[in-house]
Symmetry: C2
Subunit: 416 residues, 2 copies
Amino acid sequence: MNTTNDLSTLRIHGERLWRSLMELARIGGTDKGGVCRLALTDLDRQGRDLVTRWAREAGMEVTVDRIGNVFMRRPGRNNALPPVMTGSHIDTQPTGGKFDGNYGVLAGLEVVRTLNDHGIETEAPIEVAFWTNEEGSRFVPVMMGSGVFAGAFSLEHAYAATDVDGRTVREELERIGYIGDEEPGQHPMGAYFETHIEQGPVLEDAGVTIGVVPGVLGIRWFDCTVTGMEAHAGPTPMALRRDALQVATTLMQEVVASALRHGPHGRGTVGMVQVHPNSRNVIPGRVKFSIDVRNMSDELVDRQAREIRDLAARLQAQTGLSIVIEPVSTYPAQAFDTGCIQAIERAAQGLGYSHMPVVSGAGHDAVYAARLAPTGMIFIPCKDGISHNEIEDAEPEHITAGCNVLLHVMLERAGL
Amino acid sequence: MNTTNDLSTLRIHGERLWRSLMELARIGGTDKGGVCRLALTDLDRQGRDLVTRWAREAGMEVTVDRIGNVFMRRPGRNNALPPVMTGSHIDTQPTGGKFDGNYGVLAGLEVVRTLNDHGIETEAPIEVAFWTNEEGSRFVPVMMGSGVFAGAFSLEHAYAATDVDGRTVREELERIGYIGDEEPGQHPMGAYFETHIEQGPVLEDAGVTIGVVPGVLGIRWFDCTVTGMEAHAGPTPMALRRDALQVATTLMQEVVASALRHGPHGRGTVGMVQVHPNSRNVIPGRVKFSIDVRNMSDELVDRQAREIRDLAARLQAQTGLSIVIEPVSTYPAQAFDTGCIQAIERAAQGLGYSHMPVVSGAGHDAVYAARLAPTGMIFIPCKDGISHNEIEDAEPEHITAGCNVLLHVMLERAGL
């Protein structure tokens, strides 16, 4: 056992962490160097099997709850204390990268391996979690596992979600063998920290190593359906058309325009478009598209949504086409715990890393964890700010730095 | 045999024609009352089998050429004369109607049945054709059978066209048993008439029964691909995005705006859109969409295309995103034969039907036929001007009227 003095010089094993990241990334690895490992697929199972094997090899106990969240536990001296938890997710986007989510999980594992290397025992237990279906690419809602855990929506609601082929979350959890007995949310949690690549360009632009995250932008998701009348493209004079796509494109542009009016943190994205019947010489009769708006406060993000709805109402009145905007998901803006934020700052400072506050534009499992326990997030830069992309990349030195910060905040929180 | 005097009172059997239309429409019939009978599918084969059975029952000989065009022949007194031909197509759009194409084929059959009923022999033979893959929904180019027949493109080019599953025209022709021996274009044709629903609202608006078609609009088809950079929707600040969809929507709106600037016959349609990766929380990295522009003269339609290209060049310079516009198909504007146009007018006049000139906004097999023989087209109204839609509809009295006009122009042309 090292003395407290020695612990200030304690560092994680950066190369080992990097090798684990690269090994996990081979499961679902793509030709372009990314990862396609959608939630609850066979590849997700293989990823889960590998990470839990590593955890057991590090002496951890593994438990699984009914939504497939996995908790990997390193006991403390006083196991009556709630664990200090870290974690993230290992599912990816269809054209995802190697670091999104996976880094947060394997950084936690590396903290445990480092403590094992040095025979360090903590007062409270330490746990590393990975949460089911954070991405929401295959099943909606996103952040499903942590959302059920925090009671944001019910287990039944999550179980019933279907993919494009009609398979349910419950069926797929059973199929891959990751439906546990533990009731979601019953698992104790004393504090929660999550390391993650920034997925934006702020840290890289500023040349700063550690982002201390004050909170996460509020998010609103909608589906918009514009219904006109499909007709033959040639003989239908322009004045008599009911072209759903032309009305839809005006709204798609407003999603972006409204975000620009509510800067600097406003975001607006149309990511998914379905045109019916999608034939070259037929005027589109129906267009469905997704709307994703985000901002720093719930008030601002709701204002963006209201402006889009207002334009939709005007367009409906002008054109006579039906425009329906349906809410899909709502994620409130979430501020993190002041104590956790300050602990992260202190750790970065003590380790000699440059650091700055960076708001998170993306939702994270930490948002739901923050409803149950004091929570903080640690960001590191990613190349060109790009994530949800096969070319997503991060520097080994930043990967190491973020994990060292995690090590020290967890040690401080768990106690020696 | 009737006298020439009696022939002016000769009329087709409207109910029989209607019944045949309804019976053919059951093959591929949809719940909404439309037809989905894509070219060279099993349903297309069933439709072909039914129509050729009817032709044989009416005493006609059936021949098939190498691109699957079918010619159904009623001999004349002088079979050295080239036949007076009529026809159209029996393939449909994915959400097509009962009348588009099918009316032109069955109207020809009804003319023959009527001549048989009255024992009328013509000097020249009469033929009814149906042409392969007019719609182009499954295989590009459209008007494939008549296009190969007219030498607009080669048989090999048509054979190599693939559907979304990678099946070729040649494979599918062989599979359904409609690949004949006759060399396309070797079939003689003295004149060609085609009856068709207008597929636009002009006749209905004017309350007129017969449209005498002076010609067909020129058409240009393009595929446009905008390439940006996919990235996570939340954390990527608006200013640093390379959102392919936002640039694409500006061009989609220009397709329509340019058509409006070149009225009254200008048309502009974006019918097909593919967004990549098409995920709710990923900024689109690539958008591909179709462009369909039409106008009365090749000069006007080329001007529309040039304006769209000019905006694309400006947008590429402004945004740095790549924009590629590739030509897919070009159909020149086509004027019909003055003699045929006048014969149709005379027949409508003699039958006491109201008539007016109506330009065709859609391509038809008659466009290619016009390259080989004097050609004319007869339009009838369709409900609300709607076609390429399951609710496409036409009045029995108009169906009958168009077929009566066809009967008399063919009799005049074929000679007694």
